[in-house]
Amino acid sequence: MKILVVDDFSTMRRIIKNLLRDLGFTNCEEADDGNTALPKLQNGNFDFLVTDWNMPGMQGIDLLKAVRADDRLKSMPVLMVTAESKREQIIEAAQAGVNGYIVKPFTAGTLDEKLKKIFERIDG
């Protein structure tokens, strides 16, 4: 399973990569905003996208919409890990087709739980 982790803060990317590695996902790549993430997704055979919302350049919500609008990427599961916590934003992400939404600060347990839930849905 190849995962792309998108966050503008390198420390958060590192935290998420470490947690994913502990959960058995060792094939991770990074991008620091939507603009750098989208070409990687289009050319990189990724299976899963973990993205922040608030980033300079292209924001996570726009990356999600771009993924859903791209014929080759539209079925890719997307997990949002973000500090954005307004109800209307969570609803917007849900309407844009997000598969999971985690608010920062979060725990390793939450990440594990949401990943399992997403994969159960895909397998089921």
């Binding site: 390198s10 470490n18 307004k86």
Partner: protein, 248 residues
């Protein structure tokens, strides 16, 4: 009430005619009284004018004082504050990376220790089950000795890595001091802005604006005043509830 120029002029003409009248009739005392009253009218005007000038001068002076503070804030204090906040980002990033370096190293070490102990336990159980021949027993003893020596080394390394994690937390003190300075500057800027509003704007709209809740459009990052807000979720459970209410 101030008189218009036309009224003033008419009054002055009338008074002058009256004065001339008194002089023609040689009514010197009356003329003198009139001159005195004219002079004191002039004094009142003069005092009003001096009052106005004083007020203008006072405002100009306080404007000047405020201007020089704003100039220094814009020219040096705010750029300096930006540098300080960048320093906070740098220091916190440095500390986070240092901590993660150590955590990753500790994690690798603990995984190796666990794997090593697992292998030894398997052989140890064989010993209890009398499945080891004397050669294997000697080899097990040697392995246990190596494991214990390595354990000691690992424990020492863990200790020094944890000390580094501890020391990396020093960022909190350094960044706390810097942020406190920036808070003071923000407070000064706020005061200056209130002064400007007092002088050129409306204090009433300032006061009424103060009571309105602050509405932030779009992305805003972490919410600081969660308790005062009803448009945000409080935690992950709230997110999950909201999503499941939407059919997720």
């Amino acid at each position: 009430m101030a008189l218009s120029e036309k009224d003033n002029l008419e009054r002055t003409i009338a008074q002058t005619k009256e004065l001339l009248n008194h002089l023609e009739k040689s009514e010197i005392e009356d003329a003198q009284d009139l001159i005195d009253s004219l002079a004191s009218d002039g004094d009142e005007d003069l005092f009003v004018e001096i009052g106005k000038l004083t007020r203008n001068l006072h405002e100009a002076l306080s404007n000047f004082r405020m201007d020089s503070r704003i100039t220094s804030m814009a020219a040096s204090e705010i750029p300096d504050a930006k540098e300080r906040l960048n320093y906070v980002i740098e220091k916190t990033e440095e500390a986070a990376n240092k901590t993660m370096d150590m955590v990753e190293s500790c994690t690798d070490r603990s995984k190796a220790m666990s794997k090593d102990a697992d292998e030894l336990l398997t052989e140890w159980k064989k010993l209890y089950a009398r499945e080891l021949d004397p050669g294997e027993f000697r080899s097990l003893c040697k392995k246990i000795e190596i494991h214990l020596e390595k354990n000691k080394e690992d424990a020492d390394s863990l200790h020094s890595e944890l000390t580094e994690v501890l020391m990396a937390q020093g960022y909190q003190d350094l960044t706390g001091q810097v942020i406190r300075q920036v808070i003071e500057l923000v407070q000064d800027v706020e005061e200056s802005m209130v002064n400007i509003i007092k002088m050129f704007g409306s204090m009433d709209s300032y006061e009424s604006e103060k009571t309105k809740p602050l509405i932030k459009e779009g992305v805003e990052g972490p919410v600081i005043d969660v308790k005062k807000r009803d448009d945000v979720v409080k935690n992950q459970d709230d997110v999950d509830d909201l999503l499941s209410s939407l059919g997720f």
